[in-house]
Symmetry: C2
């Protein structure tokens, strides 16, 4: 543990460097008029299923694309590609989060001006991604009803760094005896006033509302993501 | 990204230091004749519910205790304490894993010789805990049926570092249309020969088998945890 101060210092440098790249990305996104949405959650909370559905629903109206991060495999990119949207996988090896530089590298061959929406699905992790700004306009934190009601209390940082929370797999809510009022109260306890949307990629619950919400966010004044 | 080589170097030092403490812990566990089991999984896969059940079932026959790691809150310690076993919470702040030194600190006031089993529930994370040896005899990786079948392929390192895999929340298997053969094949693809146990803390499925398994592991020749 005597090395800790040195690690913290190096980490701060890396974070600072990440912020520099994130700022460049944000400017580029603004210039290209593309609205960028990132998704964070623990593994298995349904990010990919939700995103596949969203890409499919958005495509008739908007030009969409996605980046997806994972330690290994191209599985999620293949799943998302079924939507017909351009998709790129970023494999992070043993790293538990995406960094702005990885996003920049992955975007090198894409013309962002040809896109209305870009989605970035982060590595499944409720801890690491919270500190890394990716220049996105909107950060969504997803938590599935199968994970229980206490996640906001136990992983507050990710709820602080996100803009909107999504309760996913709502179709399983009865099967797992999900206590929705408690879950909502826990989110509000950690992040008072946080907007929460209830969705199910399986039944389609809340998908139209989410699409409308995205459309209005894109049309309205751009909101910058601010790390708290 | 130019800082990366320096970070890697510092990280290696910290890992090496962790190994030194883990080795000391392992010797201490052996001297005290306590069998130490750690649990790793993503958030919400049912570690705490499973462990509460196990502590309750073991208590009539064995002297048991537990340490539990979380970024914030003492909630899990309170839940586990309902079993009647001594429990201590380790809060890690923003750190996504437990380290051997944290375990050593938490154990300072406990007489390990008075214990048959010590359980260590790690922070909910499928990435970070894999690199940190805690001196445990047995490392369990839990993955719930609600997380889908692909987790072993996407988070191979944690399956490499664990000794046994547990499929949890088996009671929800039908509700989520869990494809068990595929999940088992994925585990074997990543870690050929890995032992897999199917459990449900809710219905009690597989709990007796798990208790018997633990008893035989404790009685049999101690197996050292080897990080691969």
């Amino acid at each position: 543990m005597t090395q800790e101060p040195r690690l913290v210092e190096v980490r701060k440098n890396i974070l600072k460097q990440n912020d520099v790249v994130a700022r460049e990305l944000r400017s580029e996104f603004r210039r290209s008029n593309v609205f960028v949405v990132s998704l964070v959650s623990s593994p298995g909370s349904g990010k990919t299923a939700f995103l596949e559905k969203i890409l499919t629903l958005l495509r008739p109206r908007y030009r969409v694309a996605a980046l997806v991060g994972d330690l290994a495999t191209e599985n999620d990119a293949l799943r998302l590609a079924r939507s017909g949207a351009p998709v790129k996988q970023i494999t992070t090896g043993t790293l538990c989060h995406l960094e702005a530089a990885m996003v920049r590298n992955a975007l090198q061959t894409w013309d962002l001006a040809q896109l209305d929406f870009l989605f970035i699905e982060n590595v499944g992790n409720l801890v690491c991604p919270s500190s890394y700004d990716l220049g996105e306009n909107l950060r969504l934190v997803l938590t599935s009803v199968t994970e229980g009601e206490d996640k906001p209390l136990k992983y507050p940082t990710i709820f602080h760094s996100a803009d909107v929370a999504l309760l996913t797999k709502m179709d399983l809510s009865q099967a797992v005896e999900f206590d929705e009022p408690t879950a909502l109260a826990n989110i509000q306890a950690v992040r008072p006033g946080m907007q929460v949307l209830r969705v199910s990629a399986k039944t389609g619950l809340g998908m139209k509302e989410f699409i409308d919400f995205l459309g209005s966010r894109r049309a309205g004044p751009r909101e910058m993501h601010v790390s708290l």
